[in-house]
């Protein structure tokens, strides 16, 4: 499986890596127990600083998506860390929806876009 990074994305690179890995987990491509490539490998392949990838991995670890095992590197933890309250997820969702509304999209268009994205995640296999 591959992590794709858009070059015109305005998010910082470490955030793109974090979000990309979360997306792979959500899509079921990275399952519990799967090993992530080492920080050195990802940084070397992309040609970026080691710290950029290390920060992304640390963020995933802090959020409970990844555990670091001695000798095995970073390993995917349970898909639902269980520590995130639904109420915590609503503010970022509201922010994104606000951007859609400000961009002039109708309610129907927003619903279609959300359904498309959800469907894309589910197609990758395993999102429920």
């Amino acid at each position: 499986m591959f992590l794709t990074l858009q070059t015109n994305d305005k998010r910082p690179l470490y955030q793109q890596i974090t979000d990309g890995i979360k997306s792979l987990i959500a899509g079921g491509e990275l399952r519990e127990g799967a090993s992530l490539p080492s920080v050195r490998q990802v940084a070397g392949d992309l040609g970026v600083n080691l710290n950029t990838v290390a920060v992304a991995y640390r963020q995933l670890q802090d959020e409970g998506f990844v555990t670091v095992r001695h000798g095995a590197g970073a390993v995917i933890a349970a898909r639902n860390p269980g520590r995130i309250d639904q109420a915590e997820l609503l503010p970022p969702l509201r922010t994104v929806l606000t951007q859609f509304i400000l961009a002039g999209l109708t309610t129907h268009e927003i619903e279609v876009a959300v359904r498309q994205q959800l469907s894309l995640l589910q197609q990758k296999g395993g999102a429920q």
Binding site: M1, F2, L3, T4, L5, Q6, T7, N8, I21, L24, E29, L30, S35, L36, P37, S38, R40, Q41, V42, G44, D45, L46, G47, V48, G73
Partner: protein, 319 residues
């Protein structure tokens, strides 16, 4: 029965190297700029109609450089043969490899500089699978080769006061030490274009494995020679001719096998990469994509490895 002479082995090896160079030139290098189709020149994206305009002179210059390079190699070899300087052939082989690599790397770098970097790809991808050294390097075999080196040196050091020329075994040991290069190749990777990522990934992995196989075979060829030399110091004179033929035969078989693997690897690369965006033809916001053997770390290793070989080969002749 007499043992094979150094002259015989040098002659046979030279014939094989020259045949390899000639085959490589005709079969692969001559049309390399065109191997990715009309939209590319030497792996660099070019505008439509390039080959009707400036492309003609680019192609002509590329081929002229190749001819000049091979002429230099052929003339130096011819001079060595005419002067019967057979002991210079190892230095010629090493020097040829160095000159060949330097010329082609410079040619690629110059072409990229002049034809410019392609537009960056809009999305890049990287494989989220761990690439472990053990996926590429078979450690038991590495341990075996280290044992052979240790055993050979054990035999060489146990020589009962007999005079030994230490330079050839030192050279062979150094030549066999290619593990750092294999590690560099196994660890090397480039960002992949987001289109046809799987195919690009397979191509990149095939290139990595090809490079490691060449080094493996090369290393075993050197080990055969080293072990043969070490055994020769410790066996009776009656066995020496047989040992010489055996070691020479095995070495040449390994050498021939390496040539076959190299050419089948080149063919595989051409097949896998035919319709893909050539590696090195695109830039990412982070860095350019590059073939494993064109990476700076690998080239530095190559220079550090080959210079002592060349220097010692020259020293062996002039001392």
């Amino acid at each position: 029965m007499t043992a094979p002479t150094e002259f015989g082995i040098a002659l046979f090896s030279t014939i094989m190297i020259v045949s390899g160079f000639a085959f490589n030139l005709v079969k692969f290098e001559w049309n390399r700029p065109l191997c990715n189709g009309q939209g590319f020149y030497l792996g660099i994206e070019v505008p439509a109609g390039f080959y009707d305009g400036p492309g003609k002179s680019w192609l002509k210059s590329y081929r002229a450089t190749l001819i000049a390079l091979h002429l230099v190699l052929a003339v130096t070899l011819a001079v060595l043969m005419a002067l019967k300087l057979w002991n210079w052939t190892p230095a010629w082989a090493g020097g040829s490899a160095l000159l060949y690599v330097i010329t082609l790397v410079t040619l690629h770098a110059w072409t990229r500089h002049k034809l410019g970097t392609n537009l960056p790809v809009r999305a890049v991808a990287i494989a989220m699978e761990s690439r472990r050294l053990s996926d590429y390097i078979y450690w038991p075999l590495e341990a075996l080769s280290a044992s052979i080196i240790a055993l050979s040196w054990g035999l060489l050091l146990h020589h009962d006061g007999m005079h030994i020329d230490w330079l050839p075994p030192l050279q062979m040991t150094w030549m066999a030490l290619v593990l750092p290069a294999k590690i560099l190749l196994a660890r090397s990777g480039s960002p992949l274009p987001a289109e046809r990522t799987e195919e690009h990934f397979k191509y990149q992995d095939a290139m990595r494995r090809n490079g490691i196989s060449y080094l493996n075979i090369w290393s075993w060829g050197c080990l055969v020679l080293l072990f043969g030399v070490a055994l020769g110091r410790n066996c009776s004179p009656a066995v020496l001719p047989w040992l010489g033929w055996l070691v020479g035969g095995v070495f040449l078989a390994v050498f021939a096998y390496m040539m076959i693997v190299i050419f089948s690897g080149i063919r595989l690369a051409a097949t896998l990469g035919r319709d893909l965006r050539p590696t090195g033809s695109f830039a990412t916001p982070f860095r350019r994509a590059a073939l494993p053997k064109m990476r700076r770390s690998y080239l530095i290793w190559f220079a550090v490895w080959i210079v002592p070989i060349l220097a010692s080969s020259v020293y062996a002749v002039i001392r």
